[in-house]
Symmetry: C2
Subunit: 295 residues, 2 copies
């Protein structure tokens, strides 16, 4: 019996494991994200693995994402941009869990045009996976945006990640929606679409975020807007401003979960920016397989 191949995307909020049968997913398991662990990472990994393989079974495990952070399973380095597949693959960290070899893929690091340091862990696997799924992406220059808790905008040039920058949009939205005075205590969830549109319009006319946020609250007090409208406004404002700041007008390949990429497609269309969407999970699997196949 040949050894099982387990691929995994272990981010801040979720662990997703896939037992592969060639190029197909034969079974899945989930576990807590690195940011949600209440004990050693290896214990959480073992629990999720037990759903996919018998204890002690021969297996090769390949993980990307926060699994390689300081608080993860084993610290993996950052490959410096510009980084191609070779530079990235070369720097995987290795460990052993219950006899199974585990490789944890490196993240990427760069310096942004503003001269600031930036890092990613996990999105690089989706980027290399996207180029594997669509070889045209690996030729010439392309802009890839990966919405999520943090949205990474990357430029790839002839198959290498030339550089990238992080927008804090997803986490900022969650903070404002869950903890701020802007969206408190509403019950009427209608009006989201109209609010999203209003947020996009505000972003298009004004790049200043901090001076636009309070409108979410004032519009509830003064214009009878709903809680749902306020959440939609915040979403449209944050995504609209991100696109206004990040985009140079070039066509964008969006990689992520459909609910989120759809909002970006709409916001980009409102600015006349062409976009197309690739599924985030498929890109992650394709990127992880680049390591599985090299073993």
């Amino acid at each position: 019996m040949s050894s099982a191949v387990i691929l995994g995307d272990w981010g801040t909020s979720r662990l997703r494991l896939f037992r592969m049968d060639g190029d197909k997913v034969a079974a899945r398991a989930e576990g807590p994200g690195i940011g949600a662990l209440d004990g050693p990472a290896v214990v959480a990994l073992r629990a999720a693995l037990a759903e996919l393989i018998a204890p002690g079974a021969e297996a090769r495990i390949i993980l990307c994402g926060m699994a390689g952070s300081r608080n993860g399973l084993v610290e993996a380095p950052y490959a410096e941009c510009p980084a191609g597949l070779a530079e990235w693959r070369y720097q995987a960290a290795r460990t052993v869990v219950d006899g199974a070899e585990v490789r944890v893929l490196p993240g990427l690091a760069c310096v942004t045009p503003a001269g600031a340091p930036d890092v990613m862990r996990g999105e690089e696997t989706q980027i290399f996976g996207a180029m594997a799924l669509d070889p045209a992406l690996a030729q010439g220059r392309h802009v890839i945006a990966l919405p999520g808790t943090h949205c990474k905008w990357a430029v790839v040039e002839d198959g290498k990640v030339a550089g990238f920058q992080t927008w804090f949009t997803g986490e900022l939205y969650a903070l404002l929606a869950q903890h701020s005075t802007l969206a408190r205590a509403g019950t009427d969830e209608g009006g989201r679409e109209e609010g999203f549109q209003a947020g996009l319009e505000r972003a298009a006319s004004d790049p200043d975020l901090s001076g636009a946020l309070f409108t979410a609250r004032a519009a509830q007090l003064r214009e009878g807007r709903s809680h749902g409208w306020a959440l939609g406004y915040l979403s449209g404002l944050l995504i609209g401003q991100e696109i206004g700041a990040a985009s140079q007008g070039e066509a964008v390949t969006l990689v992520g979960a459909p609910a989120l990429t759809n909002a970006y497609v709409r916001a980009m269309a409102a600015r006349g920016i062409t976009s197309r969407v690739l599924d985030g999970e498929q890109c992650a699997l394709a990127g992880l397989q680049l390591h599985g196949n090299a073993a």
Copy 2:
């Protein structure tokens, strides 16, 4: 025995009561803010009042701030801008607590240059108080900024509040410092000054906030920056961007607590903007006395 005069500033986070002896503060008491109540507002008011006057004593009580909000003691209206002293004074709400007459001062409402609604509750009292303390402010056009949980930038023209806009800076900083992944888990509190300066510089070169926030984390991971540096960076970034967006270069009168107004003075100086500072509590008392004296 004449009736006691109690002035109070009841905001989201704190109640401050002052028993006056003419123009002087004879005694003070504190209580929970409107946002921190765990029962009816009147119960909290009664508890704080008991530190200043005997139960059932004759008293006139004048309150400003969130005391007049829907969740406050009694809902007070918003006076529409442009609003002078007469329009503002006229709209106070009245109620009675244990036989004492309580007036709750109105807030102000306006429409910002971006066409969005905006409101304030409490800062208008400081603005009218500032003009009472410094009559030169009540002649001609002046810019007054009131840093706090939310920073209000107001334009006064010949003694009237012509309009204003809210920046979310203070609450946004608190959300990022307490709840985000940007400033988590550090112990080294040094480096704040250097971080503040770096945040100001980033703000001066780039008006985009969401794309600049993640530097607080990446600089810890990649450049060995401290937790204190990250907090300083966030403070400098938020204050710097606010000033960049709000200021047209005119001289600014800052009204607020010294720890906060000092940071604004420094950030304004870095952009060549002249500022001077008035104490927020003194301005609030002066504004409240405008009603006390009119009784």
